[in-house]
Symmetry: none
Subunit: 121 residues, 4 copies
DNA sequence: GTGGTCTAGACCACG
DNA sequence: GTGGTCTAGACCACC
């Protein structure tokens, strides 16, 4: 469920943070369920445990998980976080719309592409 | 017209590249018009001339400008480049739409925000 | 009366130690009264008995309890301990006052907040 | 100006974070002034550069500094941050006052100690 | 020169 | 077994 794209220019730990966030907000990872242990995930992805550690710390800082020494890392989800994530996306949509307008893309073309995902069955 | 945000995490040269591209595709900088000289811009922004040089090289590589030895750098604009930029934005719009759908944002809410820029007069 | 906060970053045994100390100095747990048995408390809090054991050992080491083999752990209270706890708090108050002064908080504002608990009825 | 206390149980990076915050809120380190470079400070304190790196990242995250690749880390201070720090201290003062009251320290004794720093000339 | 990321390997505290 | 911290050393991008 968690993977790394080495062609991606972003640091590995950041990719993991984003991926786990995704799994949480989509409900794939349920609240209070346990995340893979630092060492296991490191082995599975063949990367250094420190890198996973860093990703998990970041997730905890952002409010997506909490860690208990000697037990593991656990999913911590709240409606507020979901709301926050939604707002992030909507804000990006507005900015993108503005950029589209400024570069000369017609309203019709833009909304058509934006809605695409919703049209597919 | 060109500025640097030191709190932006992206490298300075990249910020400049993006900013100039923006000015070109929006038509603020006209084809064949001259870009600020490396030295002048460096002084104006109080940064190292090497950094400007790098940004200009990048712009040339991307096809947004050309340099004439001993004279300076000039805007090079083509329909293809504009088309490319437009497609970039439309692709982002599609991806954003998909993310919105997956996180549970309704089609109405999403398109409303996406269209926002077009509604304002 | 004893609870665990898993989001608290301190180890569980330390939380228990502190909590029991609090109950003792406040007089809720009376001298020579019996503490919950290791097994019972472990079950009640659904944690490992070893963790309770460690907390009780720590309390004994600090002079807040004594254990009788085959009978259990009992509250051991003395004036000196209370005095020690009081001095701890007063020392913290002095340090806090110094920090407040250095950061630029006025004497009035600081004492007003410090006295707050005493003003309420 | 920055030192480590190896007897302190807290991690080194955390001690550094706190120490630098202190220097900033007290005005010793001025806004936009440069912090010691990661490598220099590491050498000076004879610890690993990674540890300094982590402390600086934390400071940036907390809003006390910003880093510019290839240039260094710089102090970033705002009134809000100072206000936040003051409120932290006042909140601690209130909690301490409550604890003092509950353990049976008289109001007079407590305020006397709390005010101590302000009385000295 | 600067910061940022990553690996490898160690040690500690906790349960 | 778990997470947390630290060291040593490397490599990269940026200025």
């Amino acid at each position: 469920m968690i993977y790394i794209d080495y062609k991606d220019r972003r640091p590995i730990y950041e990719q993991i943070v984003e991926r786990v966030q995704e799994l949480i907000v989509k409900g794939v990872l349920e609240p209070d369920s346990q995340l893979p242990s630092v060492r296991n995930l490191a082995m599975e992805l063949s990367i250094n445990p420190n890198t996973i550690q860093r990703a998990y710390s970041e997730l905890e800082r952002l409010g997506f998980s909490y860690s208990v020494k000697g037990r593991g890392n656990f999913v911590l989800f709240s409606e507020e976080l979901l709301e926050m994530k939604k707002n992030e996306i909507l804000k990006k949509a507005e900015e993108l719309g503005e950029a589209a307008k400024e570069i000369g893309i017609s309203r019709e073309i833009f909304t058509e592409h934006a809605k695409k995902a919703y049209e597919e069955e």
